[in-house]
């Protein structure tokens, strides 16, 4: 057998004054990672197709009138990119501030960190006499597997993508409504058990804000017993079938509290089925 080596064409761009070389087809964001420049992202994930909707990752590109989303714009030869100009910092700060002004980000740890880093002050809109409009939705607890709290939803589209053709191909949920009233929804907002949902939990796996949450986590949070710092993560292979999905078992007080899969795993890309995701009660003899 002969070995074929695939040689990738490289492109060189300049980021913050430094030359960076990446494979052709890489995004500006990937080039930033390559150069060790930390860039906030929200709607981007390595296992999903970029939708470039949140705009928190924008950078300044020479020759472009507006800022461009680094997560989706391919890097091309000779590009000159700035990631830390006042314009970039302003847009990132405003995006974070806008999000914080409209939804509950209390469980979105990454966003909290970025908001601090960019000096976002989401409380400066409105006042006592003129409260601002926020996304207020009752928590949907419709089964024992996961809950949906859309007052925490930033509309990053990740769950829709995971349920759709990036992973699950079930299409149980979509964006409904328009503008600030847009919400993730099943058809006519029917309860999940009455929808196409097959409870793979892949939407929960990609949600960055806690809007989608495993019921186990939700119940523990409700009683103030969710303690990530006390949890251990054990990697194992799912025992249900022969596919070989990697499972990360998150264990607190000797009980499994949630199951995830590494998003860079060659078999799962982070996605699982109902059995691997939720079928662990037998471990506790239940």
């Amino acid at each position: 057998m002969t070995e074929t080596t695939i040689t990738e064409t490289a492109v060189t761009l300049t980021i913050d004054g430094r030359p960076v070389e990446v494979a052709e087809g890489s995004t500006i964001h990937a080039a930033c990672v390559e150069a060790g420049i930390e860039t906030p992202t929200l709607c981007w994930a390595e296992n999903l197709t970029p939708v470039n909707v949140c705009r928190v990752c924008v950078v300044e590109l020479e020759g472009s009138r507006a800022l461009v989303p680094s997560c989706s714009r391919p890097a091309t030869e000779g590009m000159v990119v700035q990631t830390d100009t006042p314009r970039v910092r302003h847009s990132r700060r405003m995006v974070l501030e806008f999000l914080g002004s409209g939804v509950d980000l209390s469980q979105a740890d990454d966003l909290q960190r970025w908001m601090k880093a960019y000096g976002a002050d989401p409380d400066r809109y409105g006042d006592e006499d003129h409260p601002v409009e926020r996304v207020e939705e009752p928590v949907k607890v419709q089964d024992e597997l996961y809950i949906r709290d859309y007052s925490k939803c930033v509309l990053c589209y990740k769950c829709v993508e995971a349920c759709g053709d990036d992973a699950q191909h079930t299409f149980a949920i979509a964006v409904a409504g328009r503008g600030f009233d847009a919400r993730i929804s099943t058809e006519f907002d029917v309860a999940l058990p009455d929808s196409a949902c097959v409870y793979c939990g892949n939407c929960v796996g990609v949600c960055p804000t806690g809007a989608l949450q495993f019921k186990t986590e939700y119940d523990l949070r409700e009683v103030g017993e969710w303690r990530p710092e006390d949890q251990t993560v054990t990697r194992t292979v799912c025992s249900y079938c022969g596919v070989g999905c990697n499972l990360d078992l998150h264990v607190q007080d000797e009980r499994i509290v949630k199951v995830t899969s590494p998003s860079d795993h060659s078999v799962t890309s982070g996605h699982l089925c109902i059995k691997g995701r939720f079928g662990w009660q037998y471990v506790h003899g239940e």
């Binding site: 197709t49 470039n52 909707v53 949140c54 705009r55 928190v56 924008v58 507006a66 800022l67 989303p69 989706s72 314009r87 302003h90 847009s91 405003m94 995006v95 806008f98 999000l99 002004s101 409209g102 400066r124 809109y125 409105g126 006042d127 003129h130 601002v132 409009e133 930033v154 509309l155 759709g164 053709d165 990036d166 191909h169 079930t170 299409f171 149980a172 949920i173 979509a174 964006v175 409904a176 409504g177 328009r178 503008g179 600030f180 009233d181 847009a182 929804s185 099943t186 058809e187 006519f188 029917v190 009455d194 929808s195 196409a196």
Partner: protein
């Protein structure tokens, strides 16, 4: 391959029949594919197969039942292979669709609340409709600003939509003016008659284009300096050449007849009064770019224009001017009409593609551009009808003669939509370079109390100018240099008695209502901007901090939004603040 899960609700026979009919008209069988053959072409698979019939199917349901019911969605989902959650997501995107049962079984009377109708007193119109027992829905500009306040009646129970004002006689303010180019057939040729159109020079341009060949047509359009009239002023020759250069894939020509920019009604009048000209020009675009598929995407509130265009297409097809070897040019070209359903954003070209394909009308990030990745991901030339109309003259008289009108950098003539406090509101055509003051004079001067306060240029996405701008030559270059825009040709005048604070607050509300919601800067920014202005209106003043905040919000909307809606959402507001149009006292 995935199967579609459907809930228990079933469509009524009438709903199913209405959908079947809508699909049959578009050459798609309303059959349930066997499960084994059913392919869910959702997500990113965009193709000319079944899903693009979603919008017509939803229209059929809405018109039949007065709303889109769960059973109706399930039926459509089943026959078009669209997951019900996605069909619901599409239905809830549009103002003309309801997904809750109506509390009345009559028609819906849409009354416009945008600027021209605001100062013409839309509330009186709404009150009189209500008094007569009509169900009123207040909404954005209906494209009838010259006859404000405007009304559009959406039929239910199978009754057709209609616009009461369409029954009134029509006359162009400049009727009889020998210098008219784009409007010269209006009021002269019968819009329902191909013979009449031909008798007034119709189809001469397509014949000529066939003789010239694609290359020469592209050359002429480029040499004419024609630029897009839909708002962005992109050079048409460059766009067409880019599409012509694409090979190996089906290509499309799209006429963007969504016309929803507040203050704009020019395309409506052209489509209603000279529909053959629009389709002849599309045929030339098809010939020049090598595209065989023509699409007209027209806003849902234009029933007369839709009927006239469809009538023209049918007549042209029957005469061999559309279809295989159209008009003997050797090129196959045909046109289909798709109706929008109440969403300003669907006029943005990539949102239009998504909407037509049966997806939510959310704009796509660019690049890639429509010339390579347009409708169904295929090369597409999308143009405004006014842009297309210019091509007829360019082909017939040649680029040099065409360039004798207008200025060096803005050749040709421009259609302008005059509304608000002018003597004779309506559609006007003047050469580029005419001053704003002369145009207002042509339209009968300032009406109302006769004292001009401001002019809104380019619509809600444009900006205000003050009385000191009457000398401004109306060209692309001069308006740009003056920090304003011609945009879609809106020239809306306000006299000193008009409450500009109310007008500006409504413009901000328009963007809040019309944002597609996809990207954060616009989805949230448009809401916060409106809230800040409402606060100001209640307080009667704007603190320096709030004024600065408006600037900060504008900056992120301009810099980081995906599309032109977000980019322009703060433009009119900022110009009004800069001109001091906002009264620093509580609104009455």
């Amino acid at each position: 391959m995935t199967d579609i899960y459907l809930g228990a609700d079933r469509a009524s026979d009438a709903e199913a029949a209405a959908v079947d009919e809508a699909l049959r008209e578009r050459g798609v069988d309303a059959v349930v594919q066997p499960e084994t053959e059913r392919l869910v072409t959702s997500g990113r698979a965009r193709r000319l197969a079944r899903r693009h019939c979603l919008l017509p199917a939803l229209h059929a349901l809405q018109n039949e039942a007065g709303w889109i019911s769960p059973g109706g969605i399930n039926y459509v989902a089943e026959v078009l292979d669209v997951p019900p959650a996605e069909a619901f997501g599409v239905a809830t995107f549009y103002d003309l669709f309801r997904t809750e049962p109506p509390d009345h079984d009559g028609d819906t009377f849409h009354v416009c609340v945008d600027a021209a109708c605001q100062i013409a007193g839309y509330d009186d119109l709404a009150a009189s409709v209500r008094a007569a027992g009509g169900h009123v829905h207040l909404g954005p500009c209906l494209g009838q600003c010259e006859r404000a306040p405007a009304l559009f009646v959406q039929g239910a129970g199978g009754r057709p939509d209609h616009v009461p004002a369409d029954a009134e006689p029509f006359e162009l303010p400049q009727a009889g003016d020998e210098s008219l180019r784009l409007l010269r057939r209006i009021g002269v040729a019968d819009p329902s008659s191909l013979e009449s159109y031909r008798a007034h020079g119709g189809y001469e341009a397509l014949r000529r284009a066939g003789e010239m060949g694609a290359g020469a047509v592209l050359e002429a359009v480029a040499a004419s300096g024609l630029s897009g009239r839909g708002g962005a002023a992109f050079p048409t020759g460059v766009k067409w050449r880019a599409v012509a250069a694409e090979g190996g894939r089906p290509k499309h020509v799209v006429a963007n007849c969504d016309e929803s920019e507040p203050g704009t009604f020019k395309d409506r009048i052209v489509m209603e009064r000279d529909p053959f000209a629009v389709i002849e020009a599309m045929s030339i675009a098809g010939l020049a770019t090598g595209a065989r598929n023509g699409w007209i995407y027209i806003r849902g509130e234009y029933p007369l224009a839709t009927a006239r265009l469809q009538g023209a297409i049918d007549a042209a097809r029957a005469a061999g001017l559309l279809g295989e070897d159209a008009a003997g040019t050797g090129h196959d070209f045909d046109i289909a009409v798709w109706r929008g359903a109440g969403a300003y954003i669907c006029g943005e070209e990539t949102a239009l593609f998504n909407s037509l394909e049966g997806f939510r009308g959310e704009p796509r990030n660019k690049p890639p551009f429509p010339t390579t990745h347009g409708l169904f991901g295929e090369p597409t030339a999308v143009n405004n009808p006014e842009t297309l109309l210019n091509v007829l003259d360019i082909v017939i008289e040649g680029p040099d003669a065409y360039r004798t009108r207008g200025t060096e950098r803005s050749p040709g003539t421009k259609l302008l939509c005059l509304s608000g406090k002018v003597g004779r509101p309506g559609l006007y055509e003047v050469p580029f370079g005419t001053t704003l003051g002369d145009l207002l004079e042509l339209a009968g001067g300032i009406a109302g109390n006769g004292e001009l306060q401001a002019v809104l240029m380019g619509g809600a996405a444009g900006s205000f100018v003050g009385p000191d701008s009457l000398g401004l030559p109306l060209t692309l270059e001069d308006t740009r240099a003056a920090g304003t825009t011609l945009g879609s040709g809106v020239v809306m005048a306000f006299d000193t008695s008009d409450d500009m604070t109310g007008v500006v607050v409504r413009i901000a509300e328009f963007f809040r209502d019309e944002s597609c919601g996809q990207c954060v800067p616009c989805r949230v920014g448009a809401v916060r901007q409106h809230e800040t202005l409402v606060q100001m209106q209640r307080r009667g003043s704007l603190s320096p901090a709030r004024r600065a905040l408006i600037g900060e919000m504008a900056e992120v909307m301009v810099d980081a939004s995906i599309c032109g809606l977000g980019h322009t959402a703060a433009s009119a507001v900022r110009s009004a603040l800069a001109l001091g149009l906002i009264r620093e006292a509580p609104s009455p």
